[in-house]
Each structure stands twice: as structure tokens, then as C-alpha cells.
């Protein structure tokens, strides 16, 4: 059931407005924080207010403008979009709190918070995009808005990273644009629809080119190998950026795009017939294992996390490409599961760097005693990535593996298991060093008057996000939790071919 409602457009607009206000009045710390928080909460409230409707199958739509008939900007909050926007708007709140603490004393905070808000705005725009054009519009805007954040440090290294980032993402964007244009040409429409909008009548060759273009286009941000090169390099950005953008917004937008392409542009039935998804799944499987293997060798904490992200993102791609309801459930869920766990990790790494100045795995011996709460949170997130039951990661792994079995592709179960072990292989040494090694030199003590191991504004988001990782794993079934939304989304994907999760 579709209902015309302005909320799908208001949600991205709120943070867009916030960006404007931050740029305008951001020199005052008070107003900057005030506007950022106000927008963050309003946005969350807007998204949450749509949740009950979504769970009952209501889809909120709003047609914004039409350039020429059939080509225009429209917003549509279906269950999948709701899922993604819930994740990103929730995490925006926490990342904002964290960023305020982390960026304290940093220069150019106006620019930072302004672009930060813009990025969130575009992410939600992507989530609520009704058609490929709108999607692409926000997708590319996100690329540009992220650039100032990546080069924030303004060092030659940061500039280089920024250049590489842009090269990858803009070329990807070019492919996505070509793909979108070809889709319009072949299908006559761009509006996402459950059975997909393309059909066999366009010819296999055209469909193959479209698929390739769109997957390359969105795959760059989803960091599918070999398109992943930008992600580890972009880690020079300040940690809140790495956290929100490289755990949630930017990379997830890519994965979200791949899923949209598979389910709402091509559709399950057509892809099953064409068989294009199989090579994609294989590539995702390869990425999962290869990226994890590379992560084993990284000593820089954030780079290790970056490779882990690359690996984890391909869970989503794999889930989508397996074309079974259970795997799709895993793909959708993993958007939230990975986001919360990875953001926790980035937060902790940022807290370590802010508190002690350490950036490398080999430097953090015995840090568990200095930062007990943070490291506990990190452990939870690590367990989630390994896929230990009762954490969010287990749910993903469970559904993804069942989905693989359902698709008669048992070897992906092996891939998942290997990946879990590799995850253990690169996260457990961190825990081991943190807890079971003697510190080489005493850690800097707490500043007098401080009650917590690290500033409250850093610790609070860490603890909440880690708790949520557990919550996602334990109470996934409670209505209103992501799982229920994911189910509605997956039901939508598979409604035309029958058979839900």
C-alpha cells in the first residue's frame, strides 16, 4: 500500500538544512552542536515515525520533481530503504557525540560538521531514492561530500588518499551513470520495483552490459575486490569519518546499491534466468577470504579494520547474489550488524589514539587495563565478526549459510567458516595483546578529575554501540528491531516469485 507523505523527503532534507546552518552559524560551538543534535534527533524521529507503518507494509512515497515524463526525482520509503535509513540515522546521533569529543581542539570543525551532515543527508537520500536517477544523484553527491572529510588533515598523505578515493569512486560513478542510462533506455523506466524493471526482451548482451556497469559502479563503494583499493588508503581520515563513512554511509551505500540492482532493477526471476549473479557471488566469496587474509598482515589498526570492512561488505553482496530469501535476509541484516560492530571498533581505535596516541597493533600491549570499557566493547564487536552466537554477526552468518545451502552452493558455507576463522585470526591477537600482555611502558594515567578512562563523549557511544551489537544478536525478533524490518523487505523482494524467509 502506497501513501503519499513528505517524510521520505524531509528526512534527508533535515540534515541538509543542518549542514547549511552549520556552515552559516557554525563558528559558535554552541550553535554548531545545537543544530547538529537537533537535526540528528529530528531525523531519527522522522524515520522512526514511519516504522510502524513500514512494518504493516505501508510504503511512503513522495514525487519531488519530474524533468521530463518518467525521469525525475522521487522518494520512496520501502522496508529496505527504511532499514538502511534507520541504521544510518541512529548511528549519526552516536557518531556526532563521538565526533564532538574526538574533534575537540581540531581546526576547521565547521567544515567537518557541515560536510558530515551533508553526508548523512545524502545517505538517507540514497536509502529513500525511488528510482535509479535519484539514487545516482545522492550517490555521487555523497562521493563529493566525503572528499573534504577524507582530506581533512590536509597533509600530503591525506591529499593523496583523497585523490585515490575520488579516482575510484568517480570512475565507479561513471559506470553507474552509464548503467542507469542504459537501464532507462532498455526498460523505459527507472523506478525501482519488486520484480525488477528489466526484462529478457532487452537481449542478453545489453543486460550483461547493464549489470556489469551497475555492479562496477556500486561495487566500487562496496569495495568488492578488485575495486577496493581506495578503502584502506582513505583511512587517513579522522576516526569519526572512518567510523561513520567507512563503516556505515559510504560503503553501505555501495552495498545497498548492489542489492537494489539485484532485487529492484533486475529482479530475482530475471537474474536466475540470466545467471549473472553467480560470478558476482564468486567474486564476493573471493573478496571475503582474500580481504581477511590481507587483514592478517596489517599492523596499522585502522587499516586492519579497513580490510575487515572489505571482507564484511562482501557478505552483503554475497547474500544478495545468492538469490534466496534466507540469504537476502542475511544481506539486509548485515547492513545493520556490520555497521554497529564496525563502528564500535572504529570508535575504540579512535579512543585509543586520542587517549594514548597509539595507532598500531604492536603498540597496544596491555591496554585492556587502561581502557577496560572500551576494550570490552571492542571484544564484543570482535566476537560479532567472528560470528559467535548471541552477537549480531552470528545472525548474519546463520542466515547467509542457510541461504547458501538453500541455493545449493554449500561451498559458500566453507567460505563463511574460513572467514570467521580469519576474523578470529586478526581480531583475537588484538585482544590477546590488550589483555594478556604486559604493557611495555606504563600507560599515561587518567588526567586528574576524570572519572572515565577516556572522555565521556567518546566512551558513551562506544558502550551504546557495543550493547546494540549484543542486542541485535539476542533480541533480533522483537518487533521494531531491524530483523522485523528486514523480513518485510525480503518479503517484498521475493513476493513476485513466491516464498519468503
Amino acid at each position: 500500500m502506497e501513501v503519499v507523505d513528505v517524510r521520505p523527503i524531509l528526512a534527508p532534507f533535515v540534515s541538509f538544512l543542518c549542514a547549511g546552518l552549520v556552515f552559516g552559524f557554525g563558528r559558535s560551538i554552541f550553535w554548531r552542536r545545537f543544530f547538529t543534535f537537533l537535526a540528528a534527533f529530528i531525523k531519527m524521529a522522522l524515520v522512526l515515525s514511519m516504522l510502524p507503518g513500514t512494518l504493516q507494509g505501508v510504503v511512503y512515497v513522495y514525487q519531488f520533481v519530474e524533468f521530463t515524463p518518467g525521469i525525475g526525482i522521487g522518494f520512496r520509503a520501502d522496508a529496505y530503504g527504511m532499514f538502511f535509513s534507520l541504521v544510518s540515522s541512529t548511528l549519526w546521533v552516536f557518531t556526532t557525540i563521538y565526533a564532538i569529543g574526538y574533534m575537540q581542539g581540531d581546526r576547521d570543525r565547521v567544515r567537518f560538521f557541515g560536510f558530515f551532515a551533508l553526508c548523512v543527508s545524502t545517505t538517507v537520500g540514497v536509502a529513500f531514492a525511488e528510482n535509479l536517477l535519484t539514487f545516482f544523484l545522492f550517490y555521487e553527491t555523497l562521493t563529493i561530500c566525503t572528499y573534504p572529510l577524507v582530506v581533512h588533515a590536509e597533509t600530503p598523505e591525506a591529499l593523496r588518499a583523497g585523490r585515490i578515493y575520488l579516482t575510484y569512486t568517480l570512475i565507479g560513478g561513471g559506470f553507474a551513470l552509464v548503467g542507469a542510462v542504459m537501464t532507462l533506455n532498455a526498460a523505459g523506466t527507472l523506478t525501482f520495483a519488486a520484480p525488477g524493471i528489466l526484462g529478457m526482451e532487452s537481449g542478453v548482451a545489453t543486460l550483461a552490459v547493464i549489470f556489469l556497469c551497475l555492479i562496477i559502479g556500486f561495487g566500487v563503494k562496496a569495495a568488492i575486490m578488485p575495486l577496493h583499493g581506495w578503502l584502506p588508503i582513505a583511512m587517513v581520515a579522522p576516526t569519526p569519518v572512518s567510523a561513520l563513512l567507512h563503516a556505515v554511509a559510504v560503503v553501505k551505500v555501495g552495498a545497498f546499491g548492489v542489492t537494489r540492482v539485484i532485487y529492484n532493477v533486475f529482479g530475482v526471476e530475471l537474474l536466475r534466468e540470466l545467471g549473472f549473479a553467480t560470478p558476482l557471488a564468486l567474486l564476493a566469496g573471493f573478496t571475503i577470504v582474500a580481504a581477511s587474509t590481507i587483514a592478517l598482515t596489517q599492523d596499522h589498526l585502522k587499516r586492519r579494520l579497513a580490510y575487515s570492512t572489505i571482507s564484511q561488505l562482501s557478505y552483503i553482496v554475497l547474500g544478495a547474489a545468492l538469490l534466496t530469501p534466507l540469504a537476502a535476509t542475511a544481506a539486509v541484516l548485515h547492513i545493520a550488524n556490520q555497521a554497529f560492530a564496525k563502528i564500535t571498533m572504529f570508535f575504540v581505535v579512535g579512543a585509543i589514539t586520542r587517549t594514548t596516541g597509539k595507532k598500531y597493533v604492536s603498540e597496544i600491549d596491555g591496554i585492556g587495563a587502561r581502557l577496560p570499557w572500551s576494550m570490552a566493547a571492542f571484544s564484543i564487536a570482535a566476537l560479532s565478526f567472528v560470528g559467535v552466537p548471541l552477537t549480531a554477526g552470528f545472525i548474519t552468518k546463520w542466515y547467509l549459510a542457510l541461504g547458501a545451502l538453500e541455493a545449493d552452493a554449500w561451498w559458500y558455507v566453507l567460505v563463511l567458516i574460513t572467514s570467521s576463522l580469519l576474523n578470529a585470526g586478526y581480531f583475537f591477537p588484538i585482544l590477546h595483546r590488550a589483555y594478556f600482555r604486559q604493557a611495555k611502558e606504563p600507560w599515561p594515567p587518567l588526567e586528574p578529575g576524570r572519572r572515565f578512562e577516556t572522555p565521556k563523549t567518546l566512551l558513551f557511544p562506544i558502550v551504546i554501540c557495543a550493547a546494540y551489537v549484543l542486542l541485535l544478536g539476542v533480541t533480533a525478533e522483537v518487533p521494531g528491531m531491524p530483523f522485523s524490518v528486514a523480513q518485510v523487505a525480503v518479503d517484498g523482494f521475493f513476493a513476485p516469485v513466491g516464498g519468503g524467509p
Binding site: 519531488f64 520533481v65 519530474e66 524533468f67 521530463t68 525521469i71 525525475g72 526525482i73 536517477l133 545516482f136 544523484l137 545522492f138 555521487e140 553527491t141 562521493t143 563529493i144 572528499y147 573534504p148 582530506v151 590536509e154 591525506a158 591529499l159 583523497g162 585523490r163 575520488l166 568517480l170 570512475i171 560513478g173 561513471g174 551513470l177 552509464v178 542510462v181 542504459m182 532507462l184 533506455n185 552490459v209
Partner: protein, 497 residues
């Protein structure tokens, strides 16, 4: 069935031309008054053109016979959908002129202002005339008005290289004018008429023939030169880079479009007559357009001077338009036609912003301008928006055109050109990203950059306004589309491959 505004059609031309003539007289005592005078004249003209466009929207294309003579004998003015281009054109002038008030302080002595503004008004009047004239001879006359005033505007900056650049412009322009004159004469001899609609009718009766084709070819080459397409672009970069920035904005944004609008006019004549097989010509346009895109970008990459770089990007953008025209599919032509306007807007933004920066700091190369965004945040932001827009990244005005032209490429089954278009645009961004890095993310090297102040409001206002329009038209890109769509769809049936 004409409304009240239709009667105002000749005034839209006469007003700026008369205003130009009166400028020296008005400003005889206070030369600076000329700037306000020119602005006032343009403002009234803008109101007139707005009225004309409203008439067009309400009742469709209309004509006006000068001196009461019926069409085909007298001089006819015709306002159709392509003529609607005059409204944004005049509006851009209205925005650019206030910018020039303060800008010219450093460029020329006060006593040279009246001729400057006179030339500017002449230029505007010439372009309006060019867009609304209904006969071929006046098309030539107005082309010359525009061209001559442009040469003079380039030279008016007055520094050493300006004269040389203007001269180069003049020589190449003269060849183009001769070709146009020749073609006009040819058509007159063949058809015995100069009225476009009439010529079109009679060409239909004559049928094709070598002479008809030669005239077409002469027109085409002439307009290509005016549009500065590769490989006849050589006059453009120097002229546009050396002229004062408001003039650069006018030249790059609007004067080169004379070539494009001219092409469309000639199409109208020939398509009406159905005497032309365009397949090969379109193919040539497509290739030339693609090459222009790439070569423009390629040259721009190696420039350190920001205005020179903007000048080269004009070549790329004309490439888009020509590519779109050559593709000859509805979406592509719509995109190209819209880009005529959008590019003017974007280029005006960029040139005015670049002018502001040069004006405030005294530097014009990237290496000197590092860190300027800290002291001139709004102007730099406008520059950034312009850069993103000219590359055609969403959500800016440039994207809408890129989208439609690319769509047209696939619609016309010319996938390789679709790819060339999309990735050629990215190629251009290599340069702009260097610019943004220098402005935003590198520390200043010159004290005058580190201590520069923002421009006065008369300069900043236009820049900010134009930059906002770049963004707004990215989201509300449908507005210009609604104007060109009917005109393009009228022409298209004859266009095909």
C-alpha cells in the same frame, strides 16, 4: 492571435542598442554612472524578455513584422522556443553587470568605462537580435554586431597581450563572417528571399543540389568557428583568459553559443525544406564533439592559470553540446539545448568567482592561490560548486545535461559515445580537483592570499546567486527542459539518421 507582449518584440533589441548609443552621453560627467545606466537598461530589457517568454508560454511562437510589412517582404522578427534563450541571457547580463562595477576598478581607468558598458550593451543587443531575427541577412548583421563588440571587449582590458588576443580573435572571426556572408548570398540567389521561413519553403520547391549543400557547409563551418569547436578553437583560450572576468563570462558563457543557436536556426531552414540528408554530418559532429571534450580536458589539465583552464573547459563543454546535436536522438538534443543555457550559467559562475579571487589577491595561478578558501570562503565555495557542476556531477545543473546527452547516446545506439561523454567529464575533474585541493587543503604561500578579504557585496552577491542557481537547477532541472522540448520535438522528425 498575439498578446500585448508581442508588440514589445522589437523593443527588446532596440532598447539595448539605443542604450549603448546613449551611454557615453549619459556618463559624460561621471563615468562611473555608465555602469548603473547599463544595468538599468538591461533590467528593463529583462522585464521585456520575460514578457515575451510569458507570451510564448501562453500562446506559442509568434512573429512581428517590422514597419508593418508582411512576412517574406519586410523584416520579420520571430519569437520561438529557441528564442526563449534570450531571457536567461539577459538575466545573466543583469547579474554580471553589478559584478563589473567594482571589478573594473583595477582593470581600467574610469574614463574607459562608458565605452566598455556601451560595448557590453551592444553585445547584449546583438545577441537578442540574433535570437529573434526572422531573416538571414539580419542574422548575419547581428552576428557581426556580437562579434565586433566581442573583439573590442577583449581588447578593452588594455594590457599587452589583450591586443594580440583580440587580433587573433578578429582574424579568425573575420574568416567565419565571410563564410557566413557567402552562404547568405548563396541562399538568397537560390531562393530569391532572405526570410527564413520563406527560404525554407522555396528550398523545398527547388529540392537539393550542390549549391544548397555548399551554403549549408559554409554556414556550418562559420558557426563552428564561432562556437570554438576543435580544431577551430585556437582563438578562444587566449581571448577568454585575457579579457576582464565579466567579459570572459559573457564570451565563454554566451557569445560562443551564437554558433550553436545559429546551427539550430540553419537546421530549421533546411529541415523545413527537407532537402538534407544529415547522416554523415551528424556523424562528423559526434566525432568532433567527442574529440572536443577530450582535447579541451587534456589541454586544461596542463594549465596553471585558472582563467585559461576555464577557457579550455569551454571547448569541452561545447563538445558536449555538439555531441548532443550530432546524436540526433530526442534526449540528446534536449540535453544539448539545455546545456546551451546551463553551461552559460556555470561558466559565468566560474569566471566571476575566478575574477573575484584574482581581484582580491592579485594572483591567477594555482600554485600562488593556495589556501585562498580560508580567507574567501564564499567565493571559493561558489568556485567549488561551479567546478562540480561543470564536470556534471549531481546534484548540479551540469548533471542534468550530462544525463540527457548520455541517455540520448544510448537511445541512438551510440554506446561508445555515451561512455566517452561520461568518462571524458571525469577526465576534466582531474584538473578541478587540483584546484579545490589548492584552494581548500593547502596552506597559503603568499601573504596577500592569507590576508585577502572577501569581495564587496556587489561582487559577491552575483557570484553567490549564480552558484546557488547551479545547485537549484540541478534539482529543478526540469524548468529549462520544458522550454526546449517542444522546439526540439518539432525539429526532430527531420533530423534522423
Amino acid at each position: 492571435m498575439t498578446g500585448p507582449w508581442a508588440e514589445a518584440l522589437p523593443w527588446a533589441i532596440v532598447l539595448p542598442l539605443v542604450g549603448a548609443a546613449l551611454t557615453p552621453a549619459v556618463a559624460v560627467r561621471h563615468p562611473r554612472v555608465s555602469g548603473f545606466w547599463a544595468w538599468g537598461v538591461l533590467l528593463v530589457t529583462a522585464v521585456l524578455t520575460a514578457g515575451l517568454v510569458s507570451e510564448l508560454v501562453a500562446r506559442g511562437p509568434f512573429s512581428y513584422g517590422l514597419g508593418g510589412w508582411a512576412a517574406s517582404y519586410g523584416i520579420e522578427l520571430r519569437f520561438d522556443h529557441f528564442s526563449a534563450w534570450v531571457l536567461p541571457l539577459v538575466v545573466l547580463f543583469v547579474v554580471i553587470v553589478p559584478f563589473s562595477w567594482r571589478y573594473l576598478d583595477h582593470v581600467m581607468p574610469d574614463e574607459r568605462r562608458p565605452p566598455f558598458y556601451a560595448l557590453l550593451l551592444l553585445n547584449a543587443g546583438g545577441m537578442i537580435g540574433f535570437c529573434v531575427t526572422g531573416d538571414l541577412f539580419n542574422l548575419f548583421v547581428f552576428t557581426e554586431v556580437v562579434s565586433l563588440s566581442s573583439y573590442a571587449l577583449v581588447a578593452v582590458g588594455g594590457r599587452g597581450l589583450a591586443a594580440f588576443a583580440a587580433l587573433k580573435y578578429l582574424f579568425i572571426g573575420a574568416v567565419s563572417s565571410l563564410l557566413m556572408l557567402f552562404a547568405t548570398a548563396q541562399l538568397f540567389v537560390l531562393s530569391g528571399s532572405l526570410n527564413m521561413a520563406d527560404v525554407s519553403l522555396r528550398l523545398g520547391e527547388i529540392g537539393g543540389g550542390t549549391a544548397v549543400m555548399v551554403a549549408f557547409a559554409a554556414y556550418a563551418v562559420s558557426f563552428m568557428v564561432k562556437a570554438a569547436m576543435f580544431p577551430v578553437h585556437v582563438w578562444l583560450p587566449d581571448a577568454h583568459a585575457i579579457a576582464p572576468s565579466p567579459v570572459s563570462a559573457v564570451l565563454s558563457g554566451m557569445v560562443v553559443k551564437v554558433g550553436i543557436v545559429g546551427m539550430l536556426r540553419i537546421y530549421q531552414i533546411y529541415f523545413g525544406a527537407e532537402v538534407l540528408e544529415l547522416g554523415a554530418f551528424n556523424l562528423a559532429l559526434v566525432w568532433l564533439g567527442a574529440i572536443s571534450i577530450v582535447m579541451g580536458a587534456f589541454f586544461a589539465i596542463f594549465q596553471d592559470d585558472i582563467k585559461l583552464m576555464l577557457a579550455y573547459s569551454t571547448i569541452s563543454n561545447i563538445g558536449y553540446i555538439v555531441l548532443g546535436l550530432g546524436l540526433a536522438s530526442p534526449y540528446a538534443v534536449i540535453g544539448a539545448a539545455v546545456h546551451v543555457f546551463n553551461h552559460a550559467l556555470i561558466k559565468a559562475t566560474l569566471f566571476l568567482a575566478a575574477g573575484s579571487i584574482i581581484h582580491q589577491t592579485g594572483f591567477r595561478t594555482l600554485s600562488d592561490l593556495r589556501g585562498v578558501a580560508r580567507t574567501m570562503p564564499q567565493t571559493s565555495a561558489a568556485m567549488a560548486i561551479g567546478a562540480v557542476s561543470i564536470v556534471g556531477l549531481p546534484p548540479t545543473a551540469g548533471f542534468v545535461c550530462k544525463w540527457y546527452i548520455a541517455l540520448g547516446a544510448f537511445e541512438a545506439n551510440q554506446a561508445p559515445f555515451g561512455f566517452a561523454l561520461v568518462f571524458g567529464a571525469l577526465f576534466i575533474f582531474i584538473y578541478y580537483i587540483r584546484m579545490l585541493n589548492a584552494f581548500y587543503f593547502q596552506p597559503p604561500v603568499h601573504a596577500s592570499v592569507a590576508q585577502a578579504s572577501e569581495t564587496p557585496w556587489s561582487m559577491r552577491g552575483p557570484v553567490v546567486l549564480l552558484a546557488s542557481l547551479c545547485l537549484i537547477l540541478g534539482v529543478l532541472g526540469g524548468i529549462p527542459l520544458t522550454f526546449v522540448e517542444p522546439a526540439v520535438l518539432d525539429l526532430l522528425p527531420f533530423w534522423g539518421q
